[in-house]
């Protein structure tokens, strides 16, 4: 990658430190809480790591069937491992799928083993789970090897394109065409509604709405297609999907197993935008991030979403606060700076004065606060209209803000944003737009030096100040962040800790809770 010139902005280091310290104070109790709970999806993810896969003839995954059977007998609070491997030991089989089938027809009773039985069950569980994690490790090494062989993109920002036909077999050629056209990262958008499913669909799918289902087989097919194209292009093309919604941990595990490269994964998105229970979300979050950390996957957070409902100027500081929280939670779960694709977006109403300078200020603040994170820069959507000419221009200025403030991942905007899901030609035109801007203005950042007391610098400091105020406000709540979320602090959405979808899938861990994955994931992978 060519050396980049970073735009310069003076912000007070003490203020930045203070903001981070506040985020930590807000996040710490949540981590405590997350450690004290488990969820159905965390447990199913563990089963999947241990090798359980497939679905019954109705399409219900065996992971769900097995978990439901265990839970009916023993509850969730002890974790799935003790009862499952205890049963396996008793059934004298190592075959999880077989066990799931038996359990599904009521042929196994589960119990919580004690004493030596418990110790044996623990040991038995640890082995296959560790094997699954080793598989993730080996996919990570494979990625490193392929990147070495085929190379990284020549330019920054990396170009991120969305594919979304609903049919994996249409998606594959479109993704390959996009890569040939210049995309460095392909994201397969999910079908509407998948995030609320409490299971991961199985197999290759052809019937999504405005997106394609995230399944292990779809992951595999698309990764293989992109490997083919990467080879052809001599450039490793990355693949992205969503570890989000009710099955976040399981999807993270599948992503690790199928060598996906990036995953959308935000600490509060599910709570705020899908009305998923806050505790469920935070518990699932932590586990999924541990998996991502281990798998060498870059996460993409979802701060752009705030700005599709809230005003991008008024709510600018909520983006910063969310980035700080996402950073804290991510690092706590083991992710490193280079894995933090913190999100932000170009969503200021283009009709307001100085909108472009405000965008530069916001983007620059993120760049300055997170100098080593691969920031993800999202295009205008909300203020796109049927005026496709104006939209094409706005996308050009979005691209320019991206290069002027040295963003790392650029999600390519479509002139038909307000009209249709993108056409082939929209994507091609959009890539030409990016190419022109990157090529024509690429290193303009060199000459972009916000005047110390000028409009941009002032705006940066103002947003940072408002972020600190908001973090302090959050900490003023009795139980901090959870209460703040319940109060409607974020996007005016009120999400109490005891409501929302998926709460029934949460359990407080019992004293004898056992799950080898959590500890294993915290270890460093063997070199």
């Amino acid at each position: 990658m060519k050396a980049r010139s970073r735009p310069r902005l003076d912000v007070d280091i003490r203020t930045v430190k203070k903001a981070r310290a506040l985020a930590k104070r807000a996040g710490r109790p949540i981590v405590q809480m997350a450690k004290q709970h488990t969820t159905v999806s965390v447990e199913r993810a563990t089963l999947r790591l241990a090798g359980l896969s497939g679905a019954d003839p109705d399409g219900t995954p065996w992971a769900n069937r097995l978990l439901d059977a265990v839970r009916a007998d023993t509850g969730l609070e002890h974790g799935i491992c003790l009862p499952v491997w205890d049963a396996l030991l008793r059934q004298d089989t190592r075959d999880l799928n077989r066990l799931a089938q038996l359990a599904a027809v009521g042929q196994v009773r589960f119990r919580i083993p004690e004493g030596r039985d418990a110790a044996r069950a623990q040991a038995a569980a640890r082995k296959p789970v560790a094997a699954g994690i080793r598989k993730i490790d080996s996919r990570r090494k494979e990625r490193d090897r392929l990147i070495k062989r085929w190379g990284d993109p020549q330019q920054r920002p990396w170009i991120y394109l969305i594919v979304a036909t609903g049919d994996i077999y249409e998606d594959m050629p479109q993704a390959q065409a996009a890569a040939r056209g210049g995309a460095d990262i392909i994201a397969v958008i999910r079908s509407t509604g998948q995030s609320l499913l409490d299971y991961v669909p199985e197999g290759a799918t052809r019937e999504g709405f405005a997106g394609t289902y995230a399944t292990q087989e779809n992951f595999r097919l698309m990764r293989a297609a992109l490997d083919e194209t990467s080879k052809e292009l001599g450039r490793y093309v990355r693949l992205t999907n969503y570890a989000s919604g009710l099955c976040m941990p399981e999807i993270a595990a599948l992503a690790g197993l199928e060598r996906l490269d990036m995953m959308l994964n935000d600490s509060m998105y599910g709570i705020l935008f899908r009305d998923i229970n806050p505790i469920r979300t935070f518990v699932d979050q932590r586990f999924s991030r541990q998996v991502h950390a281990r798998a060498g996957i870059i996460i993409n957070t979802g701060e752009d979403n705030y700005l599709t409902t809230a005003d991008a100027v008024e709510a600018a500081h909520t983006v910063t606060v969310s980035q700080l929280l996402n950073e804290f939670f991510a690092k706590e779960a083991g992710l490193e700076d280079w894995q933090l694709g913190l999100g932000h977006a170009f969503e200021i109403d283009p009709a307001i004065p100085d909108s472009f300078r405000l965008e530069l200020a916001h983007a620059l603040l993120a760049r300055t606060l997170f100098p080593d994170a691969p920031l993800k820069w999202m295009p205008p959507t909300r203020h796109m209209t049927g005026d496709v000419f104006g939209g094409y221009l706005l996308d050009g200025f979005f691209n320019l803000a991206g290069v002027m403030t040295d963003q790392d991942i650029l999600l390519v905007g479509m002139m038909t944003e307000a009209v249709v899901t993108p056409w082939l030609s929209d994507r091609d035109l959009a890539l030409q737009n990016v190419r022109y801007v990157v090529n024509a203005a690429g290193r303009l950042a060199e000459d972009f030096v916000p005047r110390p007391d000028g409009f941009i610098a002032q705006r940066c400091n103002q947003v940072l100040g408002e972020s600190i105020d908001l973090l302090e406000q959050i900490l003023n709540h009795d139980s901090g962040l959870l209460d703040a979320i319940a109060d409607g602090t974020f996007g005016l959405m009120k999400r109490p800790a005891d409501a929302g979808r998926g709460l029934e899938g949460v359990a407080k861990k019992a004293n004898d809770y056992y799950n080898p994955a959590i500890a294993l994931l915290d270890e460093k992978p063997a070199a």
Binding site: A177, G181, T192, L196, F209, A210, F273, W423, S425
Partner: protein, 254 residues
Amino acid sequence: MSDKAIIRPYGDTTGDGMVQVSFTLPLPHDKRAEGAAAQLANKMGIEPALVVHAKAMGPDFTFFVVYGRVNHLVDVSQVEVIERDFPLLTPKQASLIVKSRLRRRLVVVGACIGTDAHTVGIDAILNIKGFAGEKGLEYYREFKVINMGAQVSVPQLVSRSQQEKADVILVSQVVTQREAHILNALEMSAAFREAYPADKRPLLIIGGPRFEERQAAELGVDRVFTRGSTPGEVASYLVHAFFENKQRELHGPA
């Protein structure tokens, strides 16, 4: 010029008929593809058609931009428009009519149904904050508004409607891929017809940027609102539909 019934597109002179068109053909870029693009433009009535831009997109597709004179005439007198057939009321006026005629609050239940999670449109109509400078229905003192939010299933919506004794159901649909909005609208209207006797059924209203106002009957709803609709228009229509439209008998304790 607006009183002429027969008009043509205007490039830079009256009657020149000039239009711009772009599209992709599944052909590799060569002279034949350009000829095919001109053929399509001709079939669209563009004559002469200038293929001013042709760009290969990979080996199998070519994108075209065409300019030219279209030979169709537009007969403005044949345009069918659903003009607003009710007076626009202020929030005060609307509330006053409800108060004096109904003697209780008008119950409005809103939702995005199916897997659609685009709430901005329905919120624009319902939330106090409103849209385009107009306050939403929550601001109207005599309206009781229940906003169920996103991804509500049709059975959930019907049972909440019954529970709240809803007078009006407002449904939003934004995602249109594979005709999702049409299918969901049909499912919804059928469920309400099923669940209510004809004279007790709440008023069914659907909205979203890709509907057309003329579709109401086909979708089985009472009214369709499309892009740019404002809360004031919706409130005014509701008042009109309940209190001015003689065909409609009000159910519940009037």
